[in-house]
Symmetry: C2
Subunit: 203 residues, 2 copies
């Protein structure tokens, strides 16, 4: 990993090096937090995983909670690609199912996310603002998608786009806990797909 | 609280006293865990709250995890009353909405429950077996209720009772996180009710 950082540095100068180092730290932090949880994960373990000193790591992320927030933002880049705001409504909903399918390949990340989102409902938690913002954003994207479905005559009559959006996010979150408790018995993507087909006509 | 314990003891002998003491401990433990989380809550705080020594408390619950499991079982008595297994299908579903309404009056308990259920997806967590069992039981009760709705011609055509059950539990769990993050913006009971009315015809 540090060789990649060095190569990036030679090619593109100090800014690229910083960027590559930050990305390497975030990958390692996600891994450490996903294995043992945020509270138990230490800056030292993360620094060791990327071959840095603790002081070196803290130069990039001054506190553990700053690191946590950056890990979450980093991870969300994938969600944003999938749920791109200007996509066709049906593409956005299909992207949500795709994301559920991807999540089934990273149980540690899903477990971390479930625990953190619950812990972070406490206003004093370092990730509280992040989760408030993220839920507002996600529900908003889905509400626009369901509104788009209504304009296309695809939304079930009497269904509110705002409710469908809240429910879709809730189904996705709630299924994660059920799936973590019973990975063989629950198919998150199939179940979410069935939920969406109850309220939207896909074809 | 200890006066109640003493009164119960005088009236009904040592067995009643033990039962009343256990109930007092469980109420205090729920309160302590709900305020600061399970990890941070200490046996000493709980013992102090009921006017006992730590040793006295440990006589009733030998470990913190045994206490946690008992707290959860204690709390579930209410859910079981509401979701009684032999109720009419519509009464069971209405009971679920009623439970969501009750939950909105105890945010600390809801937050504890969300965090614990997520933490406890790890197989080594002391409450893991409890949550596996509880989800199997709850999904089973709801599946029977939706099956009953189908027999009464109330279930939406093409909807599977098993899926509806998983989705209803997921909606309920997922809405809790959204509500804790935005108590003014989310009405858990109303949203759950809307979800149920999408799949079941109530009248």
């Amino acid at each position: 990993m540090m060789e990649q950082v060095a190569a990036a540095s030679r090619k593109r100068g100090p800014y690229a090096k910083t960027k590559a180092t930050r990305a390497a730290i975030l990958d390692a932090a996600l891994d450490v937090f996903a294995r043992g949880g945020y509270r138990a994960g230490s800056i030292r373990d993360i620094a060791t995983a990327v071959g840095m000193s603790e002081a070196g790591l803290l130069h990039h992320f001054p506190t553990k909670s700053a690191l946590l927030e950056a890990v979450l933002e980093h991870r969300d880049e994938r969600s944003r690609e999938v749920l791109g705001d200007d996509a066709e409504p049906l593409a956005t909903l299909a992207g949500l199912v795709e994301l559920a399918r991807y999540n089934a390949s990273v149980p540690g990340v899903v477990a971390l996310y479930c625990t953190l989102s619950a812990e972070a409902t406490a206003p004093e938690h370092p990730a509280h603002e992040y989760f408030v913002r993220r839920y507002t954003e996600t529900v908003g994207i889905l509400e626009r998608a369901f509104d788009g479905c209504r304009e296309q005559g695809r939304l079930r009559e009497g269904t509110s786009a705002a409710s469908a959006a809240r429910q879709a996010v809730a189904v996705m979150d709630g299924l994660q806990v059920q799936w973590l408790l019973d990975p063989e018995g629950v198919d998150m993507a199939a179940e979410l797909d069935r939920f969406l087909r109850e309220v939207v006509e896909f074809d």
